[in-house]
Amino acid sequence: MANIEEIRTRVRLGEFEVTNGHTTDFPGSYSGYDDAWNQVKFEKKFHIDVIRLTDRDLEFDMVGIDCAIANAFRRILLSEVPTMAVDKVFIYNNTSIIQDEVLAHRLGLIPIKVDPRLFEYRTADDTEGTPEDTVVLELKVRCKKNPNATKDTTDPDVLYVNHKVTTNNIKWLSQGNQAALFKDGIHPADEDVLIAKLRPGQEIDIKMHCVKGIGKDHAKFSPVATASYRLLPEITLTQPVEGALAEQLKQCFAPGVIEIDNIDGVLCVVSVDSAVCCRCAVGCVCVLRARVAAARKDTCSREVLRHDTIKDCVKLTRVRDHFIFSVESTGALPPDVLVTEAIKVLQAKCRRVLQELEDVDSDDQ
C-alpha cells in the first residue's frame, strides 16, 4: 500500500532512469482509490504560497494540482499573455551603420512598460492605428562633435555628443486622450538599453507604432523573460549515514542540502564545541550523522548515485503535485499580474469552446 502511494505521488530519480514520471491517478487505475474529479477535495488540498515577489520576479509554490494544468499556465505565460511591442517602424532617416531592418528588429524586442489591458488588438489591414490600439513612440537622435573636448582625448563619451542611442532617447507621442489615461507617460521598461552607436553627422529619425500582440505570433510580445517550474525535490535517507560517508554525502549535493550533526552531543575534544566537530580522524570520538536540511535547494543532479558507497543510503524523489514556479517579467506588467492574466486566458479558452458547443446544440434544435 505504501508503495502504491509512492507511485501515485512521487517521481523517482534512479541512477539511469526516471520512474513514475506519468500521472496515473485516474479512475480505474487503482482499486481502493476514488480518483474521480472532486472539486471539494481539490480545494481542500490545493494551496499557493508566494515565496518571493519583486517588481520583476515572482517565485511561488503551487501545490495539489496536476502537471497538465500547471504546464498550461507556464505555456500561456510564455506565449499567450498579451503585451505591447513595437510592430511598425517608420524610418525617416537612418544614416547609422546599423541597417534599417536590423534596427527595426532591435526596436521590436524592447519591452515597453504599458498595460496592454487598456488597449485593443489592431486589425491586420489597419495601417494608421487609433489611440485605442496604438502607442506611438519617437526616436530622434543626431550625433555631433563635442566642441569642448580636449585635444588629446580618445574617449568617445567625451569626443561626441549623443553617440550612444539608448532607450532613454525614446519619446512617447500621446495620441487622442492617451495623455489623460497614462498620467506617468509611456516608456520602455528599462533605461539605458543600447540600441545603436553613432558618429558625428549620423542621425536616426524614427517613428514607431506599438501594438498589442501575443508571444505565439512573435517572441517580442512574450511578457516573460522566463517562466518555468520544477517539482519539489525530496531526499530520503534510508539508513543512517555516519562518519566519512556523511561528509561524502554532503559533498554530493548543493551547499546546504545536507547538514552534518554531531549526534552524541559530547563536546568535540579538539574543536571544543558540541555542535561542530573538528572532523580530524585523530583523537576525536564524535559521531557525525548526515541529515537532510533543505531538500528544496537540491539541483537533482543525481551525483550521489555515482558513488557505490552511499548510493544505497539515499532515495531521490520529487513530489508530483508540488510545483515551484518561477516567473520573471520583462517589465511590461508585474509578475503577479501576469500569472492572474494567464489563469484568465485558460478560462477564456474553456469558455470559448464551451460556448461553441452550446451554439451548435441550439442550431440543431
Binding site: 494544468i69 504546464n71 474553456c350 469552446v353 451548435v360
Partner: protein, 124 residues
C-alpha cells in the same frame, strides 16, 4: 449535430467517422488550440469515471488544431467534453482566487519588497 461543420466559422468540429450515430465515441477537432488546452482538458476528462479513453494529438505542428478523442462507457461524448470544460473553468476560478489571496497575504507580510529594484540574489 452534423458530422462536419464549416471550419471557417466554427472553432470546434466533429471529425467524420464510419459510425456517426455512436454518441459515445467521438473525435473533436479544436481549431486554434494546442497542447495548452489539449493536455489540461485531457486530464480533466480522464478524471471522469464515465470515460473509457481520452487522448489528443496535434496532427501537424504547423496546423493550429488538435484532435481530441473521447470514448465513454455510455454517456454522450459531447456531454463529457462539456463537463470537462466547465470543470476546468471552475478549477481556474479557484486557482485565481487562491493566487490572489496569497499575493495579498505576501504583500501584507512584506510591505517593502514590492518596490525593491534590485533584489538580493536568493541563496540557492
Amino acid at each position: 449535430m452534423t458530422a462536419t461543420v464549416d471550419s471557417k466559422t466554427r472553432q470546434v468540429e466533429i471529425a467524420p467517422t464510419d459510425n456517426c450515430e455512436d454518441e459515445t465515441c467521438k473525435t473533436f477537432v479544436l481549431h486554434n488550440e494546442d497542447h495548452t488546452l489539449g493536455n489540461a482538458l485531457r486530464y480533466m476528462i480522464m478524471k471522469n469515471p464515465q470515460v473509457d479513453l481520452c487522448g489528443y494529438s496535434v496532427p501537424h505542428p504547423s496546423e493550429k488544431k488538435i484532435n481530441l478523442r473521447i470514448q465513454t462507457r455510455g454517456t454522450s461524448a459531447t456531454d463529457v467534453l462539456k463537463q470537462g470544460l466547465s470543470e476546468l473553468t471552475t478549477v481556474c476560478d479557484h486557482i485565481l482566487t487562491t493566487f490572489e489571496t496569497s499575493v495579498v497575504y505576501y504583500k501584507e507580510m512584506n510591505p517593502s519588497s514590492e518596490s525593491k529594484e534590485h533584489p538580493e540574489p536568493m541563496d540557492t
